[in-house]
Symmetry: C2
Subunit: 256 residues, 2 copies
C-alpha cells in the first residue's frame, strides 16, 4: 500500500529535505522513525527538495509498505517519536500509481521577511531580513510581470538538468503588514532556487539596485546576471502541494 | 551618566532575565559585553525579571558609567558582540534619578498561542499551544471582568513579597486570527506570574474546565485554587515598558 504524508518542519537544524552523507536531513529522520514503526526500510519520495534552513508547512512525501496500519494511527505513532521540529500533519492511503512529485499540480511557497536596520532575535531563522529602504509598491508592480507562462531559466541556479525551463506562475502576492513583508507564490512547478531568485530580484528592484525593466529582460533573454541575489533561505516555507485528484491540501482544495 | 537600553531577546536558550549561578541569563550576557566595551564592571537594573523561556520585544534596563560614548555608537558596538538572540533596539542617556523599574508607568505583555491537536514545528518555543476545543468568545467576555483596579493576589504565585497586590489592568485584548490567538495585556504593574495565571485561567474558562464566575470569585476572595494553571512560558513576550517622562517607547507614546 502507498501512503502519503504531509509534513511540517522547521529547517533550522537540517541540511534540507534530502539525505546527505555528513549532515542530518528531514528525510533521514522521518525514514528512520517510519522504519522503527513499520519494521522495514522505508524510502520517502517527496514532492521536491527543500534547501538547507528552508521550512515546510506542507511538504508531501509518499512511501510503500506491506504493513497494514490505519493512517491516523501511523501519524500519532510517528509524531510521538519525532523531534519537536518535525511533525506529520496528515497521513492517507493513496492509489498505487500516485506519486508525490509527478502527481503534484501546483505548489505554493511563502517567504517571510521584515525590513529593519537591526536584526530581530525573535524572528531569527524564521524570517529573512531586508535592510531599509524598500519600495514595496514598485516591487508589487514589477511582480505582475512574472505572472503567467514564461521561460524562467534566468530565475534558476545553474546545474539543474530539467527538460524545459518553462513554468507557469499563477499568483505572486506581496503583502506588507507593519515592517513585515510576505511573498506568496503559486505555480505549476519551480526550477532550482527559482523562488529565492525571484524574491531576491524583486528586493533588488525595491532597493533600487536594478531597474524594474530587468525582470522582463530576464524573461526574454534568460540572463541570470540581470537579476538580484538568491535570497536567504531562512524565511522560505514550502506552504502546500496541490493534488486535486485526492483532495489535498484539504482547506485549499475546498476553496478552489 | 545613566544610560537606558531597550532590549529584544529570544528567551529560548536562557534561564530568564536575571543572573543565576548555574545557568546563562540575558542579564549576564549583556553585562559582560557592556563591560568589554566600557572597560569596567556594569550592573544592569531592569524594568523587572522575565521567566525562563519568556521573550522580550522591549525589555528595558539602565546602568551607570563614567565612560563617555554616544548612545548610538554604544548600541552598534554592543550589538556586534551579542549573540543573534539578543539585540539592543534603543539606547539613550536618561536623568540620574531615572530608574528602569521605579520610573515605569505601564507595561504591556503579549501572549502568542495557537489552537491545534498537533504541535507546530515552526511555532516551537515562540507560541504556546492550546488543545481544542476553545470558546474564545466566552474568554473575551470573561476577560472584561479583569479590567480595572483589583486585588490580583489570586493571580500571583506564592513567594512574592510585595507591599500591595492591588494592580490596575488597563487593557486585556484577545484576538483570534485563524488558529492563532493573541492576548495583549497592559497594566500599571504585574505581580509574579500574574500574566501567565490570568491567561491560564482564561484558557481554563475557554475549555470549560472552570466556570467563568470563578474569575470574579478570585478577585473577591483571593483564592488562587479557583483559577487555571500558570500558562506555558514559550508564548509570552514582554512587549513594552512605558516611561512618558522620557518619551519611551517612541511609537506608543506618540499614540497616547
Amino acid at each position: 500500500m502507498r501512503y502519503l504524508i504531509t509534513v511540517e518542519y522547521c529547517g533550522r537544524n537540517y541540511c534540507g529535505w534530502q539525505r546527505q552523507i555528513n549532515a542530518i536531513s528531514v528525510q533521514e529522520v522521518l525514514e528512520e522513525k517510519l522504519a522503527v514503526l513499520l519494521r522495514h526500510k522505508v524510502v520517502l519520495h517527496a514532492s521536491g527538495r527543500t534547501d538547507s534552513k528552508v521550512h515546510a508547512l506542507g511538504q508531501t512525501a509518499h512511501f510503500d509498505t506491506e504493513t497494514v496500519i490505519p493512517p491516523q494511527k501511523l501519524l500519532c505513532a510517528v509524531n510521538s517519536m519525532l523531534p519537536d521540529d518535525i511533525r506529520i500533519r496528515d497521513c492517507r492511503v493513496v492509489p498505487d500509481d500516485f506519486h508525490a512529485q509527478y502527481s503534484a499540480k501546483r505548489k505554493t511557497y511563502l517567504y517571510k521577511a521584515y525590513v529593519d536596520r537591526i536584526s530581530s532575535p525573535v524572528k531569527e531563522g524564521l524570517y529573512a531580513r531586508i535592510i531599509p529602504p524598500l519600495d514595496v509598491e514598485l516591487m508589487q508592480k514589477t511582480a505582475e510581470k512574472l505572472i503567467g507562462e514564461h521561460d524562467f531559466r534566468a530565475f534558476s541556479s545553474t546545474g539543474s538538468t530539467v527538460k524545459t525551463t518553462v513554468r507557469t506562475v499563477y499568483r505572486l502576492q506581496i503583502t506588507r503588514r507593519g515592517n513585515e513583508i510576505e511573498f506568496e507564490i503559486e505555480g505549476n512547478g519551480f526550477l532550482y532556487n527559482m523562488v529565492r531568485i525571484i524574491v531576491g530580484t524583486l528586493i533588488f528592484v525595491g532597493k533600487g539596485k536594478i531597474p524594474p525593466e530587468n525582470v522582463e529582460r530576464m524573461l526574454q533573454t534568460g540572463d541570470r546576471k540581470a537579476g538580484g541575489k538568491t535570497f536567504a533561505p531562512e524565511g522560505l516555507y514550502l506552504k502546500s502541494v496541490f493534488y486535486p485528484e485526492i483532495g489535498l491540501p484539504e482547506e485549499n482544495c475546498r476553496k478552489s
